[in-house]
Amino acid sequence: MVALYPGPIEVGGIRLRNHLLLAAGILGTTGASLARILANGAGGVVTKSIGPSPKEGHPGPCLVVVDGGIINAMGLPNPSAAFKDELAALQGEPVIVSIFAGTPEEFRTVAGWFAGTASGLELNLSCPHAEGYGAAIGSDPALVEECTRAVASLGVPTWVKLTPNVADIAEIGAAAERGGADAIVAVNTVKAMRISTALRRPVLGNRFGGLSGKAIFPVAVRCVYDLYEACSIPIVGCGGVSTADNVVEMMMAGASAVEIGSAIIDDIGIFAAIADELYSSDGIDAGEIVGCAHA
């Protein structure tokens, strides 16, 4: 396997300690859990998505572990502006705040709460199970461009996280780039459902949710590959990454960094474990392999 040279990097206007970020929605509700993941070796962390008003989320079950993955429908629970208090102890750390909203104006408002304190913002235009938010916006190229512009014009590094649940993800990525995104994050979860045969009803309280984990890694690789062809801004690969070789594969598809989430179910020390295998003092620069599968 390819080994990479260790050390800080910069992706989409954000300085990171390494190529491995904590994905949004995983252990991102409290400042303490984010600090724990940074201490465990992550190069940066993305918070739980924060929106214009506090939300309790969907009724449970909110998550079910299935073969090869996890299906969740949390329903964007968040404390809204009060989340600023959680970040107080993380000043200067590589923390990216994930935000969601229903309109470009709302996006600008929420972004304003964190501009100046966060390293950057990640726009959640991709949550598959929150009506009026997330993928409801992220499936429309014009809205994606408008929401991206509303945030990027604040001058904060702006990443846009995309949904794979569209016919042409490259078209959406191009819209984010036109709106001024500094990077694209691909992908959010894949729309999914399981039914309890014993109870004869969908398991999740919201009926359907989003699939993450190893099962969607090939989907994510394909999306990153397509986006690399269509866009010139950096891409952050997300979806089922659980090994150092997965990181290298994502990079070969076109990712400049990766986000890791579901793999934490097996090991909360996954970041240090992957970094240990991925980096070597005689490794190569990641630039040598990013997008190399397109040659």
Binding site: T30, P61, P77, I265
Partner: protein, 254 residues
């Protein structure tokens, strides 16, 4: 990671333990360590964490939507159960248990396994004392009630003065957080906080250590996965006894 779809179970018996607490027995045994919990799915309502009071039962107080819906169910009705989750009580040697109210529920499997030597049981009033007879059969039982209708008139923590803490390798505690905080204060004063094992309650969504809803300050420990049982020294200088987060992640004083 193996598939963990909720198991559909049928309620076979509903026992009224006290005027406010019922045990729901179901038709499936779940192999678990004492102190572990399951996520209980009340179809169409919600899913909530519940300690196992035996391999095939949960013992519940009506506190919210899901437990209210559970109280409206009957023998023959189906619920979903996934788990067991969490760490449980890692006891060895002589054990003192301190339980308040429905907090006696996660401690009962320890009693059943013969791992409790002395049990300090507290409740608001005599009729709310949970599992008193079953505990008395297996351990030395000392009782306290807030209104003095049984045993010591006062808080269960006051019974701690009547035992020699040096006699016990572990002190297992579950009950209202204010009560547990008082127990921790006693252990800390006696210099043995690390021998306390406290079963915490926090709002949970996923149960498997991913979503972060139940993370505690200042170490970011997950109650569902790193807990629910934590040793007392870990809880000193933490959010324990001070505040907890709700479903949205907003903090509220305890």
């Amino acid at each position: 990671m193996h598939e963990q779809m909720p198991a559909g179970v049928v309620i076979t018996d509903i026992v009224e333990e006290t005027p406010s607490i019922r045990t729901f027995v179901f038709d499936r045994e779940i192999a678990a360590r004492p102190g572990q919990f399951v996520m209980v799915w009340v179809p169409g309502v919600d899913e909530v964490p519940m300690a196992l009071s035996s391999p095939s039962s949960i013992t519940v107080q009506k506190v919210g939507d899901a437990t209210a819906a559970l109280f409206a169910m009957h023998e023959g009705d189906r619920i979903g159960v996934r788990g067991p989750y969490g760490n449980g009580f890692p006891v060895s040697g002589r054990t003192l248990a301190v339980g308040g109210g429905v907090g006696a529920s996660p401690l009962l499997p320890l009693v059943t396994a013969g791992q409790v030597d002395t049990f300090l049981l507290g409740a608001r009033t005599a009729s709310e004392l949970l599992f008193a007879e079953r505990i008395r059969d297996a351990a030395t039982l000392m009782v306290a009630t807030d209104d003095g209708t049984a045993g010591h008139h006062g808080f269960v923590t006051e019974l701690m003065a009547r035992v020699d803490l040096a006699d016990f390798n572990h002190i297992c505690v579950c009950g209202p957080e204010i009560m547990m905080t008082a127990v921790l204060a006693v252990l800390d004063r006696e210099g043995c906080a690390e021998r306390g094992l406290f079963s915490l309650h926090r709002y949970m969504k996923c149960g498997v250590g991913l979503c972060g809803s139940c993370c505690t300050d200042p170490h970011g420990l997950r109650v569902c996965r790193d807990g629910p049982v934590f040793s007392g020294d870990v809880l000193l200088d933490s959010e324990f006894g001070h505040y907890a987060r709700d479903a949205s992640g907003s903090r509220h004083r305890i």
